[in-house]
Structure formats: C-alpha cells, structure tokens
C-alpha cells in the first residue's frame, strides 16, 4: 500500500461547477487537502463560501444534471469522483456519512424516528427487523436521548431541536462510518444544547475511532474542537493549518479579518469591532485575481490580475494563499 492509500481522505484539485441560467458558477474552485485517521478538521467560511457543496462533493452526493465535478476524492484509496452510484452507495454509511445542515429536512416528518434508524440498518447492513430495532434503541441511547425505548416511537415534530439533531447523528452513526461530515451540526441550537452536541460528537469520535469534518461558519465552534482548520473564501481554500497556527499565526488577510470581526465574550462592552468593507464576491463574476482583492486593504495590482496559489508557511502543514501575506508574528487572540 502506498502512503496515499493509507490516508483516510485525499482531496486533490476538486472543483464543482453548477451550470446555471446566469452562467457557470464555480461553487468549489480547486480544493486540495488530506486527512489522517482519528482527526477532527474544521472547515470555516462565511455563507456561500462553498462549505456545503465541498462536503457534498466529497460524499459524492450531487444533482445528476447541470453540474461538473473534476479532480479527485480518494476515500481510503477509493476514487469517489466519477464512481458509479452503486459503488458510492456501498460506502455511504459505512465509510462516510453526512449530517446535513438542516436537521428537520433530513428527517422524514411522518415516520417515527426509531423506524428511520431501523431502515438505515436494514438497508445498509441487512439486519433483521428485531435486531434493527434493538440496535436503533442502543443508538438512541448512545447519542444521549433519555428514555430511548419510548422515543423510538416519537415523530420528529415531537422532539426538540437538540433531540432531533441527536437522532440525525444516530442515523449517521448507524453503520459506524470512518469519516463523518458534519455540516453545521449545531447551527440554530441554543448554546447549552450546542455544547452538549459538540461534546457528544467528540466523545463518539474517540469511542468509535472515527474522523470528523466539522463544517461551520462559527469560529468559536472550531477553536477548541479541531486539530486543523480550513478557511474557505469564494469556493477556495485561502488558509489551512493547525488550529493554533491558523488562529495565532495566520498569514492571509481574510483569516485575520474573519477573526477580528467576531465579537468576543472576553472583550469589554462597547469594544469597536474591526470590519471588512463590502461582502463576498458574486461567484458568477469571479475575476482572475485574488477573490478577496476588492475588500482587502493590502491589495496591489498583481492581486487583481493573478490568483495567489496556496504556499507553504513555516510550520509544516500550514499554507496560505496571498501575494502580500501578513508578517510572521504570533498574534494573541485574546485582547
């Protein structure tokens, strides 16, 4: 086995383009990264930066028409891009599973939650009815749902948002996947419930020896829960590195802007926030230059015509895409 095959996930030059009425929309524009086993990696970026499309493309879930996917996604050595539905289906659930952004839409509202877990187990693992029910109750218990026997018969609408998200996690974990893609698993939940769900994911990751991709727009969620972070902007990775390095030693101006514009609990009241002028670009009208250039205070002529590729920073594994990177100083996050 080559080194490449040992890796859980190797993504190379992955691009997803939607062919829309308004033209070609490069939602993911050439993304490369890889992932070790038993790791949690965070993908952060603002709305529309391509986080969901990237996760769905890794999973091999895309609409059948009006989309072109190029590049490569090796999942434990298996090429997902261009694979047949049958081949992908064999891997869904067991090798890779996904938690979707909106828990309400990923559950069937007119089917008992227990039955929804059962179905996954019977279809994917060929379990008998009796075994599947027993296992489903076990899974409900595993994700911390009180009185699982009784909740087995509940409909999604009868559960709170936090409990529905636990059910979604139970379904994703039903066939013990090696890689879990969690797309905004706690967005819309209260902070106390968010903390419960994030703790649950961390605990399950350890217990089941899986790897997790934690997709979020909330920097607070990834700060203490991941070992590596990918920062996305307009469909591309603009910075990637260890969580600590991305927070404290980032080189790309957008990363800094993103960190500085977030209000902090530890700041005094009425602390003036640093803002980035404007908003993210229209993906239908991307130029050849750096897509952050119209909002970047360091932009030069070169930035507007030539796109910076990812280049290595000092720390191994830390890369950034910028022509005029921030100096190599360690910034403290705390004020």
């Amino acid at each position: 086995m080559s080194v490449e095959q040992e890796k859980l996930l190797v993504v190379k030059d992955l691009a997803t383009t939607f062919h829309t009425a308004g033209g070609d929309l490069p939602a993911v524009g050439g993304v490369s990264f890889d992932m070790e086993r038993n790791q949690t990696i965070g993908i952060v970026g603002e709305s529309g930066s391509g986080k969901t499309v990237l996760s769905r493309t890794i999973m091999g879930l895309q609409q059948r028409t009006n989309v072109t996917v190029t590049g490569s996604v090796l999942l434990s050595g298996f090429e997902m891009v261009g694979a047949s539905e049958d081949d992908k289906r064999k891997r869904w659930g067991t090798e890779v599973a996904m938690i979707f952004q909106d828990p309400m839409t990923s559950l069937n509202p007119v089917m008992k939650v227990g039955k929804q877990i059962d179905e996954t187990l019977r279809v994917r693992l060929g379990m008998s009815k009796v075994d599947a029910k027993a296992r489903a109750i076990e899974l409900l218990e595993l994700v911390g749902i009180p009185s699982p026997q009784y909740r087995y018969d509940a409909y999604p609408g009868q559960l709170s948002g936090g409990m529905r998200q636990r059910v979604v996690i139970a379904i994703a974990l039903a066939c013990s996947p090696q890689l879990l893609l969690a797309d905004e698993p706690t967005t819309g939940l209260d902070v106390t419930i968010q903390a419960q769900i994030l703790n649950l994911l961390e605990e399950l990751k350890e217990r089941l020896e899986m790897s997790v991709v934690l997709v979020t727009h909330d920097l607070g969620v990834v700060a203490t829960r991941t070992s590596r972070i990918i920062v996305m902007y307009a469909g591309r990775i603009v910075e990637i590195g260890s969580t600590r390095e991305v927070f404290a030693g980032h080189r790309m101006p957008y990363t800094r802007a993103l960190l500085e514009s977030s209000p902090k609990v530890s700041n005094a009241s009425h602390t003036r926030l640093t803002t980035i002028p404007g908003r993210p670009p229209n993906l239908l009208k991307l130029t050849d230059g750096c897509s952050f250039a119209p909002r970047c205070s360091y932009a030069t002529d070169k930035c507007r015509v030539e796109r910076p590729e990812l280049q290595a920073a000092d720390e191994p594994g830390h890369m950034f895409a910028c022509w005029n990177p921030l100096p190599k100083t360690r910034r403290t996050v705390r004020k």
Partner: protein, 324 residues
C-alpha cells in the same frame, strides 16, 4: 451606571399568556425591568424563554395579560387608538429576518418613508431630503439605490434599510430582536458598529434581544438573563459576564464558545433541556436542571434581589459575589 436617573422605560410584572388548545402558556411570566435613557439593555436566554414576546408586548404587537409598561411616564397599556399609535412612534422594533420584513415590491426610499407617509408628518421636498439623509446615514447611497426594490438587496443591506426606516420617526426606544443573527460575521460587525454610531447620534435607548452572548456583551451596558418566562439575573454587562451570580447564567456563559483555541475548555455542561412553559416547575423555574437545587427551591420561587449595586439575582443561593 450609578447616578440616579429616571428610567425611560419601566416594566413591572409583565405577563403575556397565549392560549394553546385548552391550556394557557405564560410565555412571559412576571417580568420587571427598567431601561435608562441612553443605555442599551441586552436580553439573553435560550430559545422559547420569552425574549421576543417581551419585545412585542412593549410594542403591543401582542397584548399583555397583566402588568404595567411606562414609557417616559406614559402608561403604554392604557393607550388606545390614536394615542396608542402615537406612543408607538416613540418605540420602534427591528426584527431578525431582514428580507421578509421589507416589502419586496416597494422602492427602498418608499419603504424608509413608510412611517412618515403614514403619519403625513413630513411631506414633499422635506420628506425626500430626510429620506436621503437617513439612507446616507446607514451607508446606502440614495442616488444609486433609492429607487431599487428591496428584493435586490442582501441581508446586511436590508438590515440597514430596516434601521433607516425605524429611525424615520425619531424614536426614543429601539427594540432590536435578533437583528444580526442571520448575518455573516463580517456583515454583522458592520451593522453592530453602525448601530453604536447611530445610537449616539440619535440619542437612542436600546433593548437589544439576542441569543448570541458575545454580541450582547459587545453592545450592552446592562444585561438581563431570561429563563422560562422570567428574568433570573440582571446587572451591569461586565460584572454579570465576569461574575455571574445565578447558576443558569454561569452555565449559559460557560457554554458560549470563544473564538480562541486557548480559551478554557469549559468543564461542566448544563444537561437536559428547558421544561415546557405549559407546565413550569414549582418554586424556582431552573430547579430541574440546577445542580444546587434544594427542598427550598422546590417550594419557594426566588425573587430578584440585589446582591451588588445594580446587580439583581433570583436565586436562593447566589454564587460567590465579592460582597462590597
């Protein structure tokens, strides 16, 4: 905030109940607070605790079942007809969903002028100048965008337009309900800074409702924490965040995630979920999740009491507070 000032808004024992089938739910179950002129009071708490209902009751978008609301010495609840509409112009509310709260088929400058046109208080050229001025203040060029329709704008721009509209009648009190929750951080920062600037320029007093604890800390002078229809703690923002005295506040703040890998990993996570407001627990409403609950908490409902100047807590056993 130690000087003795007259409150602009004084809310006492506010109760709002909704009928749910044969049952009554007290979404707001006896809430009292004051907001002083020129300050921002933050209102936080988990989903369903009654934050929006409190804001809507102040505006009388929903009718309070009991209690009193005084704005600048006027009893808001006693007002009817024209007088009610009149007092409503002194309070304005901005909602979470910026796009759906603006009529997509109207031009931006007419949306901003809605309250003026409704009252016919300012007309003709004077009106147009005022509208242009308001749009400029919120960072939207009236010459370029004034004639466009709301549906052509992004969430952040729509929220700027909502702000401009809310300022048209020169209100004294602005109620912001999750006004930045749907926005991306970079846009959120722009709107929060804008709000701070306009607050000073227009001499506004703010009730800032949000579930994001960092955002609330950033804009507020004082913060009130709600749980299941009641305020469990209220006090100066910096003190309350540094030394929360109510167990619920402590857990809530402990669960807030700081965008900092070196932030302490919070040990204790609050278990369970808030009970249904249909059937609130006896005694202290937090007792079903509180690790410090005793018999007394089951039997007696704690009332807000001052534990430090301006810092009130409703708990039989408030957490360590430096007793000055």
């Amino acid at each position: 905030m130690t000087e003795t000032r007259e409150p602009l808004l004084k809310v006492s024992d506010l109760v709002v109940t909704f009928g749910m089938g044969r049952h009554q739910v007290a979404a707001v179950a006896g809430v009292s607070f004051e907001i002083y002129e020129g300050e921002t009071l933050g209102l936080v708490g988990e989903s369903g605790c009654g934050k929006s209902t409190t804001g809507k009751a102040l505006m009388r978008i929903v009718e309070p079942s009991s209690g009193t609301i005084e704005l600048d010495g006027t009893d808001v609840i006693a007002q009817k007809g024209k007088a009610l509409r009149n007092i409503r112009t002194r309070m304005q509310m901005i909602f979470q969903d910026p796009i759906s709260s603006l009529n997509p088929r109207r031009r931006i400058k007419d949306i901003v002028a809605e309250p003026l046109d409704c009252w016919k208080s300012v007309t003709g050229d004077e009106r147009d100048v005022l509208i242009s001025d308001l749009l400029t203040k919120v960072g939207i060029d009236p010459k370029v965008y004034g004639n466009r329709y709301a549906r052509q704008f992004s969430g952040g721009q729509c929220q700027r337009i909502s702000i401009a509209r809310s300022l048209a009648m020169r209100p004294k009190l602005l109620i912001c309900d999750e006004m930045v929750s749907a926005l991306d951080v970079s846009v959120q920062a722009q709107i929060l800074n804008l709000l701070e600037d306009l607050k000073h320029e227009y001499g506004l007093t703010l009730l800032f409702i949000a579930h994001d604890l960092a955002v609330v800390k950033n804009v507020s002078d004082r913060v009130a924490v709600m749980y299941l229809g009641r305020i469990c703690e209220i006090g100066p923002a910096d003190t309350l965040y540094e030394a929360p005295a109510h167990p619920y506040t402590k857990f809530l703040l402990g669960a807030a995630l700081e965008a900092d890998p070196d932030s302490p990993v919070h040990g204790e996570v609050l278990g369970g979920e808030p009970p249904s407001p249909l059937n609130p627990p006896s005694g202290c409403r937090f007792r079903t999740r509180c690790p410090f609950a005793t018999e007394k908490c089951v039997e007696i409902e704690p009332q807000l009491e001052e534990v430090a100047p301006g810092h009130h807590v409703a708990c039989h056993y408030p957490l360590t507070i430096s007793k000055k």
